[in-house]
Amino acid sequence: MTAVALDDRIGKAWKKPPLIANPALRWTLFIGALAYVVLAVASIDVNWSRVAEGLSRGWAFVTAFFTPDFVSRGGDIWAGILESVIITITSTVVGIGLSVPIGLGAARNIAPLPVYLVCRAIVSLSRALNEIIVAILLVAIFGFGPLAGFLTLSFATIGFMSKLLAEDIEEMSKAQAEAIRATGSSWLQWINYGVQPQVMPRLIGLSMYRLDINFRESAVLGLVGAGGIGATLNTAFDRYEYDTAAAILLIIIVTVMALEYLSGIIRAKVQ
């Protein structure tokens, strides 16, 4: 320990040591960030007269939240929500069904290398492609309708669930799995007794979370013609029917809240 004499410090100013010790780096980063913000803000051209004009419309939308209109387009809303729910359920079930084998394949500690690489590639592809882009392509290929939406969300679910499931399996307790293997079990028995009990609670929790995400996503698929409530919402905005739009958004918000509450209960139960 280097001795620092008290007399040297008394009467001298004290400063908090900076986060980045190197002053040159610190100032470069700071000035760089500042320059970026200035450039970026300058490159956004805001048409302020258009914004001012829109403010009244914005206010109309805010007030519409207090007088939502569930009735005048009731039929459309109901059909759209039902379709969204259907897409959500089917895509979650199929997506999870497919992500279990892919997740097993993408876990380095239980899958042979070629299988691992193929499964990881599927996962990466699914995660890198935005849902909307996938939906656009699938609509182009399969035509308008909920089938494209269903396929899109199933594909997205695979990327999400398989990755998390694989990570979970890679982190599982080796001792438990080895103990089952030591009994002379077959591969399937080993997965069933040694691996499944360890990852099941988290898998159920994640499934609930994914159900929630799929519902939220299904609300936008309609914008590109892949079925669900999005189409109705789009029409409502196009016609400036803010009270109908507000009603749809409220339904979405309430459903998401209910799903979150439900998943909280289920997660508490399985853990």
Partner: protein, 267 residues
């Protein structure tokens, strides 16, 4: 100097943590508070600076009734009472120096503290205290890089820079090894003597308490069970506070150790 009058605390769960505790601590006295877990030691100490609101009764420090104060008055009173915590309670992601200076928060305005522009006198005092507790070289280290004993020293410096009249010390040695525990207790008692400070020290290590303090108060289920000199501690007293157990070893140990220390001091 510090007077507790009929101090009572009942928690919302119905637990009676303190019942009619009346105590007077004169200036410069170091008092240890002993008792089993759940006897209300922590609650008592926190009722003095109102980190816990007492249900009834009053706490009077040099003539001011703390329990009657509003927010501003309470803050003024709190800066006169330094507190030292179990497990140090340092802000771990701040530097040692910031932790020490945080003891001055009650004296400086928000922007000064936010910008770390403390008056030069505070900075000097902080360095003096760090030097006193032997951590001068650590000033710009982050608090979570220190060892347990070092952290508690920072905690002591933080309490002392408040320039308090009273120290409230909550289990200062609970997470330290025996040797460090003694060093910390000795440091606290020395500093109290230097500055003529009164102190209330919660401690569950009876032997350690006997070794350093001049008065011991025993608390049992929220009520006073003993009040006297360390030498008056006997098997009966310990039994009345903690319940039946073979206390012989505890007490004799202390005597031995004190003898040993006296020998060392004499040689």
């Amino acid at each position: 100097m510090l007077e507790l009058k009929k101090l009572t605390k009942t928690y919302r769960t119905g637990d009676k943590a303190l019942q009619d505790v009346t105590l007077t601590i004169p200036k410069g006295q170091v008092m240890a508070l002993i008792g089993p877990s759940g006897a209300g030691k922590s609650t008592l100490i926190r009722c003095i600076n109102r980190l816990v609101e007492p249900t009834s009764g009053s706490v009077i420090l040099d003539g001011t009734d703390i329990t009657a104060l509003g927010t501003g008055g309470l803050r003024k009173m709190r800066r006169q009472m330094g507190m030292i915590f179990q497990e140090y309670a340092l802000v771990e992601r701040l530097t040692v120096m910031e932790n020490v200076l945080s003891g001055r928060l009650g004296y400086v305005g928000f922007w000064r503290s936010f910008l770390r522009k403390y008056p030069q006198s505070d900075v000097d005092e902080a360095f003096r205290l760090l030097d006193r507790v032997g951590l001068m070289a650590m000033a710009d280290k982050r608090a979570d890089e220190l060892s347990g004993g070092q952290r508690q020293r920072v905690g002591i410096a933080r309490a002392l820079i408040q320039n308090p009249r009273l120290l409230l010390v909550d289990e200062p040695t609970a997470s330290l090894d025996p040797k460090t525990s003694r060093q910390i207790m000795r440091l606290i008692c020395e500093l109290c003597a230097e500055r003529d400070l009164a102190a209330v020290i919660n401690i569950h290590d009876v032997a350690l308490a006997q070794m350093f303090v001049e008065r011991i108060v025993g608390l049992k289920a929220g009520e006073l069970a003993f009040d006297g000199k360390p030498t008056e501690m006997s098997e009966e007293v310990l039994t009345s506070i903690y319940g039946e157990e073979d206390w012989q070893a505890t007490i004799r140990n202390v005597d031995d150790e004190e003898d040993a220390e006296a020998d060392v001091a004499a040689s």
